[in-house]
Amino acid sequence: MLNEERIKLMTKMASYEANEGKRNVAIGSYFRGDYISLQVIKSIISATIAFAICFALFVFYDFEVFMSDIYKMDLLSLGKNVLFSYVVFTAGYALLSYLVFTRRYSKAKRSLKMYYNNLKKLAYLYDKEGKK
């Protein structure tokens, strides 16, 4: 006999698995710390690339001045300035991504919990049917 309740539950779960669940299952397979630190590391790398692009544009913009003054200017203070802005930029971006991904992780966990509850319910429904 077809069990309507079970079929409804299974349909709902299958649609969850196919859509939003896919990403959540991927997230859920990490421990919280692992997931967040991995994402933050990725963010730091992308922030570094972005900073390098900006810096390259900046240098190229003032290319001639830069080249003619390169022996005159205080490279140490320039390096300090660049390093300082790099650290501020990267730290800001990393913090932002930490916040975003922490939230995303807890959201995914919550939604997965509901999914697992449904799985239990499904197992229970199967059990009940088997006993009949």
């Binding site: 963010s43 690339i49 972005a50 692009i53 900006c54 544009l57 190229f60 913009y61 290319f63 991504s97």
Partner: protein, 326 residues
């Protein structure tokens, strides 16, 4: 009104039935229009300008994820700019890379806005975008819309100043580069529009989430007014040469379009609002429930009437039977 609601239900059902075909068709259309617009604005690379290439790319986009369409459009724009001048391509590449690396790492769901915003700019009704995103998106959509605005102005600036850029000789790569960067960063109109759109999205978002009646309508109108006011204010402050007539007409048309969107996304009947209160162990609940407008679509039923064979009047048979009875 009932007819419109019936139409909406029918459209929904139609979409549900043929979703497999409609979604790729719409994606194809969006990609095709985008590539055609890019070719029209900055079609410097003749190889990409042919209709066949545009069609193939658009077909490719019809079954690829939406985000890839955006990447592909960026690639096409870069190729055109490269054919025009290397410096332009470098600046545009830097803009796109920063966008993809910094923002799309969070893989927002509204990446496609980056493509839609320039399209609406070309259609002269960009004011649709911030209000619509405030209604259906989140405040984070402001960043997506800002990216779209920046892309439009950067590419627009390059195509506008093409004649000036052509006057630089081959030696003047650095000057050319500096000219472009100055133009892009010093574009007050762009900054004004980014600010106006961001504020509009946030205002619309917060108003439509209020629990007052007609929150969506209030949000739409307030959003449009805020947008107009900020742009006019910016015009006064920085002399950005915003066309006032275009702004007002564009906003009016945008509001009308948004009302259509609202009809499909958020259609409720405030006259049947119910206020209920209840409690459980932990909370008191004050709930305002607003019913959605729905109609049952009249179903077409084909009733087949079978007439039993005996009852059918066969003149020949009848005549025969009469003859035999005689």
């Amino acid at each position: 009104m009932t007819n419109l609601l019936v139409l909406r239900e029918q459209l929904k059902r139609f979409y549900g039935k043929y979703e497999v075909y409609i979604t790729p068709a719409l994606k194809f259309l969006l990609a095709f229009v985008s590539f055609a617009m890019i070719n029209q604005t900055i079609g410097y690379m003749s190889a990409l300008n042919s209709m066949a290439i545009v069609l193939i790319l658009a077909l490719l986009c019809s079954f690829l994820p939406m985000n890839l369409t955006v990447v592909l459009a960026a690639g096409v724009a870069l190729a055109h700019l490269y054919a025009f001048s290397l410096e332009c391509a470098v600046v545009a590449l830097a803009v796109f890379l920063l966008m993809f690396i910094l923002y799309f790492r969070f893989s927002p769901k509204d990446t496609v806005v980056v493509l839609l915003t320039p399209l609406f700019f070309i259609l002269k009704i960009p004011y649709v975008v911030p209000i619509a995103m405030g209604l259906i998106g989140t405040p984070a959509s402001a960043v997506s819309v800002a990216c779209g605005v920046i892309v439009y102005y950067v590419i627009g600036y390059m195509s506008e100043s093409a004649s000036v850029l052509n006057t630089f000789d081959a030696e003047g790569a650095v000057e050319k580069f500096r000219y472009i960067i100055d133009g892009v960063l010093g574009n007050k109109t762009m900054l004004m529009v980014v600010a106006a759109f961001a504020v509009t999205i946030i205002v619309v978002y917060f108003i439509r989430r209020l629990s007052v009646d007609y929150a969506w309508t209030i949000a739409i109108i307030t959003g449009a007014l805020v947008d107009i006011l900020i742009l006019l204010f910016g015009d006064l402050m920085f002399n950005t040469n915003v066309s006032i007539v275009g702004l007002i007409f564009g906003s009016v048309i945008s509001v009308l379009l948004i009302k259509v969107l609202e009809f499909f996304v958020f259609n409720v009947d405030y006259s049947r609002t119910e206020m209920v209160q209840f409690e459980d162990d932990e909370y008191y609940y004050y709930v305002k429930a607003v019913p959605k407008n729905t109609v049952a679509t009249p179903e077409k039923r084909v009733k087949t009437i079978r007439v039993p064979d005996k009852a059918v009047n066969h003149p020949q048979k009848n005549a025969e039977s009469r003859r035999t009875s005689k």
